[in-house]
């Protein structure tokens, strides 16, 4: 990449990360004012940035990309990485489309073996849905949303970097899984019991599941970050109703993500336990096991498809507005429709289960809710169509893709109504009708996001792409898309995931294969176009698109590191940048009405604490987790791996834990500043600090996680027989006393945390340390007591339980150990945090009101852990 003249040249201030946070901020401020008009205030158009970049190397340096925490850089990382996964998932699809060129009859060998074919279709689905679509959307979300909100960055920049590196690590894990006896081969839906070691013994299967779990963790961290940002860092005047449509769609997406992914995480934890520890949730003989998986998976799975589509919808709305030159028709109703869909998405999941054992009343209910959710989409489709009336419609590449996306989505949506009619679904189940339907809607979403890529490309790179090649891409893409997916409707009776089909279907299968290659090739046009335009594209000004309205178009392309020259505000009904009196600069004419204003609420020097941008620890932590998960995946059904290979795996795992843990500690110790914005819309979190908001949002997700585990237990117990469960499956040696002792220990430890907080407010270092140490001892006592209890239960030797009551004994033991085990892991993590807090408190931190907050945040977590125990204790010891 050639050096961009707008990037700063390296100055002596560019110190490595350890110094970055403590760069003399005060100097930076006075330096600017002393230098006069040009130096420190970034101007939106074509002015060189001088002044230090807060220890962040220039974009041309590789090191920058490993230490950056800036939302724009991370957005670029997400977009580029996700496009790599598009190619990966697409190649898998091309492999099985080659196989489907002719039916493979029994006894013949096809292009792929049966096992390879099953892996190809399964990983294709997983990669496209998880590793391509959402990260692609979130690349744009990362880049654009803070700009649209008027914020300088996300609320927690280092967590943002962690999200990205976790995502990359999870992708690497998925790639590695192919080499461990084959990857997961049970469909992207991973139905039980096919997903357990009895039927899928390969280690690669476990690694793939862990890869997905790591991805979900990345997403959860990201959701907490986005939710905190979007609720607390909006420009003044930008109420939630006034959010730009792309940001509004992202807000709803992350709310859905927070709750839906917690359910998937629970399903994956349980599946991992079945594969690694040997628990028996999903065994063939387990009560309700196979249907339990479908509930856990689809409760996530249905919101997931909207999670994947909403960003595309938001981008389409922005693109329609810009390229028709009209504000969205029925905007209020459009936003209400999106909100309704987000809420309703959690009450339709059983339409994926119409052929299971659910009864008629439930089928009817879910048929009704499914039809209910299609109605807001009708409204949104019409809103977009009406927006074109009296427009100044310019069919540029972004608009062609957005327009095409709408068309494809209409077709996909209509075919979805067929699936909502239960009696039709009885026949469509497991056939190409479903496949064609979801590819029309989901790849329709991709089409919208490709439009977004062309739309925001000038903003991100400062260059225009080649318009002719863009239009050519669209033409080839649209032809390839329909050649590939429409035949699948024609041969809808073909079963899914098979490679032996009726010869009458062959011409259509071949047409689809040709279409697949055309669609794939169209992306080559795009890569070429976007790649070469980085060098040869015309320079783009701040707003190359007429009628673009949102804040990202009011600043330079690409925007300066701090985004805006002042604090963005819409208080006067249009965008302006506020600064203290005396710091207002005239902006170049390009921005039109957008200018800087003096505001009496801002004192000179209000931004003396400059934001930090560089930290290497997110990358380090992610690599640690990668190795740790690799090691974990090698454990099979409760047995450690043997031999040299086994030792290597376990060694890697231990190393990973060490690296990850060290990274986390150093991340905590690092002086990293992500200052609060002084003037912002914060509803409904006014008066609550940023950190506290983040902790509460995280806990909301954790509540759903535990809810799913408890729900799974209750579900299985009802299926078996609620009252006979205790008699048939639990040995008499399982008594209440250890649970009771643990309850007292935990409750007391919550009290001591409150004491620590009081001591902090009273500036008593000894008090803080003593309370925290007591908490630690009580927590350790809890764990030791539990260990003794478990050991005692493992050692039972009776006729009923000749091998003890252990992980794999029966459903009651599996649910007991895993649910209370998950809780114990939460306790263990809490104790690690306590140890860290003790270490810092000993050094005198946390004293005085403002600094005691870390203990308060920990207290929130710890009380949550206690409250969960208060549910688990009666469920697993008394009832």
């Amino acid at each position: 990449m050639t050096t961009d003249p707008r990037e700063p040249t390296a100055t002596p201030d560019d110190q490595p990360a350890a110094d970055g946070g403590t760069a003399p901020a005060a100097d930076g401020g006075t330096e600017a004012r002393a230098a006069g008009a040009t130096a420190e205030v970034p101007l939106p158009v074509g002015r060189e940035e001088t002044g230090h970049e807060h220890a962040l190397p220039p974009q041309s340096a590789i090191r920058r990309w490993f230490v950056t925490t800036n939302h724009k850089d991370i957005g670029i990382l997400y977009i580029v990485t996700s496009l790599f996964f598009l190619v990966f998932g697409g190649t898998l699809a091309l492999l099985f489309r080659i196989q489907l060129w002719s039916p493979v009859q029994a006894g013949q060998t096809g292009f792929l073996s049966a096992f390879a074919y099953n892996q190809a279709v399964s990983i294709h689905g997983l990669v496209m849905v998880f590793w391509f679509l959402s990260p692609f959307a979130f690349g744009f979300a990362n880049y654009v949303v803070p700009l649209q909100l008027g914020a300088k960055d996300l609320a927690f920049p280092r967590l943002n970097a962690i999200s990205y590196w976790f995502y990359l690590a999870s992708g690497i894990l998925l790639g590695v899984s192919f080499f461990q006896g084959g990857s997961f081969a049970g469909g992207w839906t991973m139905y039980a019991p096919l997903n357990i070691p009895t039927f899928m013994p390969n280690i690669g299967g476990t690694t793939a599941v862990l890869a997905l779990a790591l991805f979900v963790i990345s997403v959860t961290v990201s959701s907490v970050n986005f939710l905190t940002t979007m609720h607390r860092m909006r420009a003044e005047g930008l109420t939630l109703r006034r959010l730009p449509l792309f940001s509004a769609s992202i807000l709803l997406t992350v709310w859905m993500m927070l709750f839906a992914f917690a359910s998937l995480l629970a399903a994956l934890f349980i599946l991992t336990a079945d594969r690694v520890l040997g628990t028996t949730y999903f065994a063939s003989g387990s009560p309700g096991g196979s249907i339990l998986w479908t509930h856990l998976f689809w409760f996530f799975g249905h919101p997931e498809v909207y999670i994947v589509f909403f960003p595309a919808l938001g981008a389409m709305a922005e693109i329609f507005q810009t390229f028709t030159g009209r504000r969205l028709v029925g905007r209020k109703w459009f936003m209400l429709a999106m909100l309704l869909v987000a809420l309703q998405s959690f009450v339709v999941w059983m339409h994926h289960m119409f052929l299971t054992t659910i009864n008629l009343q439930i089928k009817t209910l879910f048929m009704a809710t499914t039809i209910g959710i299609s109605l807001p989409f009708d409204l949104m489709v019409f809103a977009l169509i009406y927006t074109m009336i009296k427009g100044d419609n310019r069919f540029t590449t972004p608009f062609l893709f957005a327009f095409g996306a709408l068309l494809l989505f209409i077709i996909g949506g209509i075919t979805g109504v067929f699936l909502g009619a239960v009696v039709l679904d009885y026949e469509f189940r497991g056939t190409y009708w479903v496949v064609a339907h979801f590819h029309y809607v989901m790849v329709g979403g991709v089409t919208g996001l490709v439009g977004a890529l062309y739309y925001w490309y000038p903003k991100i790179t400062g260059r225009m792409y080649d318009e002719f090649l863009g239009k050519l891409h669209f033409a080839v893409y649209f032809v390839g898309f329909n050649l590939l997916y429409f035949p699948l409707f024609v041969i809808w009776e073909n079963p899914r995931r098979v490679f032996d089909y009726s010869p009458a279907f062959q011409p259509w299968q071949q047409l689809a294969t040709v279409g697949a290659f055309i669609l794939g090739l169209s992306f080559l046009i795009m890569f070429y176009n976007l790649g070469k335009s980085l060098w040869t594209g015309a320079e783009a000004g701040s707003s190359p698109w007429e009628y673009a309205t949102t804040a990202e178009w009011a600043v330079d392309s690409p925007p300066p590191l701090e985004n805006f020259p002042g604090i963005a505000s819409y208080k006067d009904g249009f965008l302006s940048f506020l600064a203290p009196a005396g710091e207002v600069q005239p902006m170049a004419a390009d921005g039109g009405a957008v200018g800087m204003k003096a505001d009496a609420r801002l004192e000179p020097g209000y931004d003396d604490v400059h934001a930090s941008h560089a930290s290497v620890w997110p990358f380090v932590v992610a690599m640690g987790v990668l190795f740790a998960f690799l090691g974990l995946g090698s454990i099979h059904s409760g047995k450690l791996p043997t031999g040299v290979g086994g030792a290597v795996y376990l060694g890697l795992g231990a190393l990973g834990v060490l690296i990850g843990g060290t990274g986390l500690v150093f991340m905590g110790l690092e002086p990293f500043h992500a200052p609060e914005v002084p003037i912002a819309e914060r509803w409904p979190f006014e008066g609550i600090t940023k950190m506290k908001t983040g902790v509460w949002i995280f806990l909301a997700s954790d509540i759903v996680l535990f809810g799913a585990f408890i729900g799974a237990y209750i579900f299985m117990r009802f299926d078996f027989g609620w009252t006979i469960w205790h008699h048939d499956l639990i040995p008499p040696q399982h008594v209440v006393l250890p649970g009771l002792i643990n309850t007292y220990l935990l409750l007391t430890s919550s009290f001591t945390v409150v004491l620590a907080l009081v001591a902090a407010e009273r500036r008593s270092r000894a008090g803080v340390v003593a309370s925290l140490v007591t908490t630690l001892f009580l927590g350790v006592g809890f764990l030791i007591n539990k260990a003794i209890e478990w050991h005692h239960l493992f050692d039972i030797r009776t006729t009923a339980y000749p091998a003890g009551w252990a992980f794999s004994t029966n459903a009651a033991s599996s649910t007991f150990y895993l649910t209370t085990g998950l809780h114990a892991i939460h306790v263990f993590v809490g104790l690690l945090i306590t140890s860290y807090l003790i270490f810092r408190a000993w050094g005198g931190k946390y004293l005085g009101e403002a600094d005691g907050n870390s203990i308060e945040y920990f207290g929130l977590y710890w009380h949550f852990v206690d409250i969960v125990w208060l549910f688990l204790f009666p469920l697993f010891y008394i009832l």
Partner: protein
């Protein structure tokens, strides 16, 4: 509320033409055809309207130039373009179409799920057990046909067959596409579906849920026989009683 009233209005019409009755093939075909025609019509209308608007108001066209509309400005606070009334009309229309379709198919669902005593009289009950990678058919007299041995699934023509479907190992799905019947086969659970073959002939049953490497070949032959032929054959199986009972609870 309306969901309770409307189907009850439809019930008396079950004997008539509104709710399709008879074999699963006829039921499916009737509904599918209506949905297909209506869906295609709606799709063509909406997409044509979309293309029309896009083209008519393309930049530089006369209508576009004449349009007296306030265009968006950079930096304006996001607002809407009005026009909520047209939206209400299209939305109501699409709602009526979609909801009517679903209420109609709900009537069909009731017919399929709640057979009268007359309809279920004389049914043949067969338990289908899926396993990797074959199907077992357990008849009332204890005889078990196993597709891994090449045994076909023999059924009588013009007589309802009531299936109880389950699995011995993983999650399968039993479907006979040309007879339009399908049901999930889950270990530890049983699902039920019925079908009625109106003509003699041969069909294929397949598996519709990915179940492992042999999923593509998990098929069984289905032979629909004339009533007498079926009865005579069935009588001969009395000697082949196996003690195998279905593994389903």
């Amino acid at each position: 509320m309306s969901l309770v009233i409307w189907p009850n209005l439809l019930v008396p019409l079950q004997g008539g033409s509104l709710i399709p009755t008879g074999s699963r093939v006829h039921i499916f075909q009737s509904i599918y055809l209506v949905f297909l025609l209506l869906g295609t019509a709606v799709g063509i209308v909406v997409i044509s309207y979309m293309l029309y608007n896009g083209y008519t108001y393309r930049t530089g066209s006369e209508k576009s130039e004449r349009a007296d509309v306030d265009r968006p400005q950079l930096g304006e606070i996001p607002t809407g373009g009005g026009g909520g009334r047209h939206l209400a009309l299209s939305f109501s229309l699409s709602t009526i179409i979609v909801v009517s379709l679903i209420i109609w198919t709900y009537g069909t669902l009731l017919y399929v799920s709640n057979p009268t005593a007359a309809q279920s009289a004389g049914e043949l009950h067969v338990t289908v057990v899926g396993k990797q990678f074959a199907w077992e058919f357990h008849y009332p007299n204890g005889y078990v046909a196993d597709s891994s041995n090449g045994d076909p699934f023999r059924v009588p023509v013009n007589r309802r067959v009531q299936l109880t479907v389950t699995s011995k190992d993983v999650f399968h799905d039993f479907g006979i596409p040309s007879l339009r019947v399908k049901s999930d086969a889950m270990p530890g659970q049983t699902t039920s579906q019925w079908f009625l073959a109106t003509q003699t002939g041969t069909h294929i049953a397949r598996c519709y849920e990915l179940c492992g490497a042999g999923h593509s070949y998990m098929t069984a032959k289905v032979v629909v026989m004339p009533q007498n032929a079926f009865d005579s054959w069935y009588a001969t199986t009395g000697n082949n009683t196996t003690t195998a009972t279905p593994s389903a609870a």
